[in-house]
């Protein structure tokens, strides 16, 4: 009888292979004492199963999360979290259109922006000249591009130039290249002449 009761508990433990389980169940059903014992235990465990699991009160998770101590993180960890933490992006159509307009405007301004320029005035005293022009780095040394205007014996031109250093020469009467006697600096042109130099700053 003791061994038989052990078999019932083996059955309840779920230790028996399927074929042996069926055999044991068959044996139990043939023995009224064993059957009563088995049914009582099975009913007991059935009552336990019917009770089931119990859920905690609503708000349990929130309550636990509210009690968590702040975990110390390294500076690297915080930086990493800042950049790699998942974020929920909430948007609406009006915001999206506004953002698109701002981006479009910014890109347009960036693409159409003119670089800052400085007006540089060059002068040459040549009262007897018929024509004076200036050629230099700013106009690819085109002797016809920078024609100067005469005013009381002084030839003048105003050039819009971006910051930088430019070499230049004057061309008088379309044939004589002259170094600006009033230049702030000079540079050898590599061919035995000196170019005037102007430095443009903002």
């Amino acid at each position: 009888m003791k061994n038989d009761l052990s078999i019932i508990h083996q059955l309840l433990d779920g230790d028996l292979p399927p074929e042996e389980r069926d055999h044991v169940l068959h044996q139990i059903q043939k023995d009224p004492v064993l059957l009563a014992e088995y049914q009582a235990l099975a009913e007991t465990l059935g009552a336990l199963g019917r009770e089931g699991r119990t859920a905690p009160a609503p708000g349990f998770t929130r309550s636990v999360m509210g009690k968590l101590p702040r975990r110390r993180t390294t500076l690297f960890g915080r930086i990493r979290k800042f950049f790699f933490a998942s974020r929920m992006l909430r948007w609406n159509l009006a915001s999206a259109v506004a953002a698109l307009l701002i981006v479009t405007l910014a890109v347009t301004m960036l693409l159409t922006r003119k670089p800052e320029q400085v007006i540089v005035r060059l002068d040459l005293q040549a009262p007897n000249a018929r024509q004076v022009a200036v050629a230099g780095d700013f106009n690819k040394w085109d002797s016809t591009a920078g024609v100067m205007t005469r005013k009381n014996g002084t030839w003048t031109i105003e050039l819009p130039l971006r910051p930088g250093v430019y070499a230049y020469m004057f061309i008088v009467n379309n044939e004589q290249w002259i170094t600006d006697p009033g230049a702030e600096a000079y540079r050898d042109d590599g061919f035995g002449n000196r170019n005037a130099v102007v430095r443009v700053k903002i």
Binding site: S6, H9, L12, D13, Q39, A40, L41, E43, T44, L45, A47, L48, G49, E51, G52, R53, T54, A55, P56, A57, F60, T61, S63, V64, M65, K67, L68, P69, R71, T73, G77, R78, R80, K81, A85
Partner: protein, 190 residues
Amino acid sequence: MGNIMNTMTHQEEHDVIDRCLKGDDEAYAVLVDHYKVLAYTLAFRMLGDADCANDVAQDSFLAAYEGLDRFRRMAKFSTWLATIVLNKCRDRLRSRRETVPIDDVTEVRSCGAPDPEALANAHERTSALQQALAALAPVDREVIILKHLEELAYEEIAMIVGASVPALKVRAHRAREKLRESLEKQGVAS
């Protein structure tokens, strides 16, 4: 009855734990939400009181959070959490010096100092089964809960309670008989 302890894969658990360890505290809410029923059920069935069970379950999650970096990755988080819950339940039961007979189980259940009306209501609510569970020795009670309520294998129960499988089977055998006897006395089981 499904086993909630298996609904999150080992890898998913560890991914969430990695996020927690990297400072993503919100990831821990995933674990709490997933295993709160396990923790609360264990505590409630061991202690028989909703408030106590709530305290123990919450304390267990806090303890697990603080010990996450020491969590042994070979074990499942649920196994580890169940161990923590049961240890806390044992501490509570030890502090109560639980040697109270079945008929006085309502008083045993009180964790703090509930008012008399609450005690009366609690007594009414107490199921015959809960009283029968309370009549078991704690070591037998935890095995019967883990085996027949949580439907765990003896090998996993052995990891949780720190006892051998043969010893657990002896406890389960004894607990089933005692449980049946208690329920029969209350007229619940024949």
